[in-house]
Symmetry: C2
Subunit: 240 residues, 2 copies
């Protein structure tokens, strides 16, 4: 039942698509591929090898696109509408990318479900890398991304909703920051993702009360008495 392609046995009819979030210059960003010889954009994706657990496949796909291992990533939804992928668009795409004419019985032409993962990575450490179908893999600001192919715009929307929902509940936002950061950096990240201003004193009190931050030295910027403290995320005791 598996599908031999490019030398691997992949599971049939299932793909993985990854909404990869980064945070930089007070902007929440995602990584998008631009398909060769087209202006079509998509979130990075791939297939599951027979030899891989599902989670291993997702980590591999993430590593191939970012150069990073041990990425924070979570399943967020399986996209399984019958008509979620336009096969005529797929044919045009593969012709533009590879010069191939997909026959109706090509394995790619069957119905595919796609398992959506979102990943949170440290922007400063990622090395975005196109795949064989694309000539660029670049960061796009979340609030100015163009329309994406198939149902990928819906994927991004759902991933963003999930990120917002879990930001407080699971304290996952720290995965978007470098190892050390100021309270201001942290608040900026929260405000950007939640798309609203937060009261500085309340935010600071709440974050400090959670017992998840270790205070380090001050950040040296010249004016010593105005230098903010640096913090590091040290995790919390339990998580559901």
């Amino acid at each position: 039942m598996s599908t031999k392609t490019r030398g691997y046995d992949y599971l049939p009819g299932i793909s993985i698509d990854c909404v990869i979030f980064g945070f930089h210059d007070n902007q929440l960003k995602i990584l998008l591929l631009n398909f060769k010889n087209t202006d079509w954009l998509a979130v990075p994706g791939g297939f599951i090898k027979e030899s891989e657990n599902l989670e291993e496949a997702a980590q591999r796909i993430l590593e191939e696109r970012t150069g990073l291992t041990n990425i924070y990533l979570e399943q967020f939804y399986v996209f399984g509408d019958r008509d979620r992928r336009d096969n005529e668009m797929l044919k045009s795409l593969m012709k533009a990318v590879d010069g191939v004419e997909l026959s109706p019985d090509h394995y790619l032409m069957t119905r595919f479900l796609s398992i959506g993962y979102y990943a949170l990575i440290d922007f400063t450490k990622a090395n975005p890398t196109p795949d064989y179908t694309s000539d660029s893999c670049q960061w796009y600001d979340i609030d100015t991304i163009p329309t994406l192919i198939y149902d990928h715009s819906a994927m991004v929307k759902k991933a963003l909703e999930t990120l917002r929902f879990f930001l407080d509940e699971k304290l996952i936002g720290f995965n978007l920051l470098p190892e050390v950061f100021t309270m201001n950096d942290l608040q900026n990240m929260y405000e950007t993702i939640l798309d609203k201003k937060l009261l500085r004193t309340n935010f600071q009190r709440k974050m400090l009360s959670l017992g998840i931050l270790e205070r380090l030295d001050k950040k040296m910027t010249g004016a010593a008495n105005k230098a903010p403290y640096l913090y590091r995320f040290v995790g919390k005791e339990s998580n559901v």
Copy 2:
């Protein structure tokens, strides 16, 4: 790429498994199938027809097992470990159930991912119905369920964690209650699912402050001045 079986075209390599929660007599319960001629138990499941959206398939499977339509259900996880299903157990199972000897190239013998859904239903309205592989479909108290086949015990565990996590955040618990209920009924349900006692006054104040309950007449039990009010869930304004 699809799999012809029992007259339908099903998507290959993907199943749906459903953890169906009900609440009765202050017990959280789930529906389990008992496979014919064995003592093996499993959560109900099924496959996705070529003609169905993923969500439609899940609703159909739920309806087949409970007789209910428009059930509250949510995807909670895709189970995709390479060795999640023991094929020798599957062979024994199908032999016991159907008398058939599965050949190694039978479509059921390939690797399957399973998309986990949890459903919350009104216990009093469900009509549990076995499928063709099982001779019973019954409610089991969540804290005394025996070991299940394959990775189904892990499925139940994960579904229960998800239910607990979302109980407050998404106010989904009301799907487990009849249309009208007392504040006591509501608190019992919360306490049972969360497995802890809640302070009555705090709980009541919080629930009333959410603006999601409509107060109806008192529940007539004889002693009029002690009769509790009945409530109905009327939803809330927004949800993530």
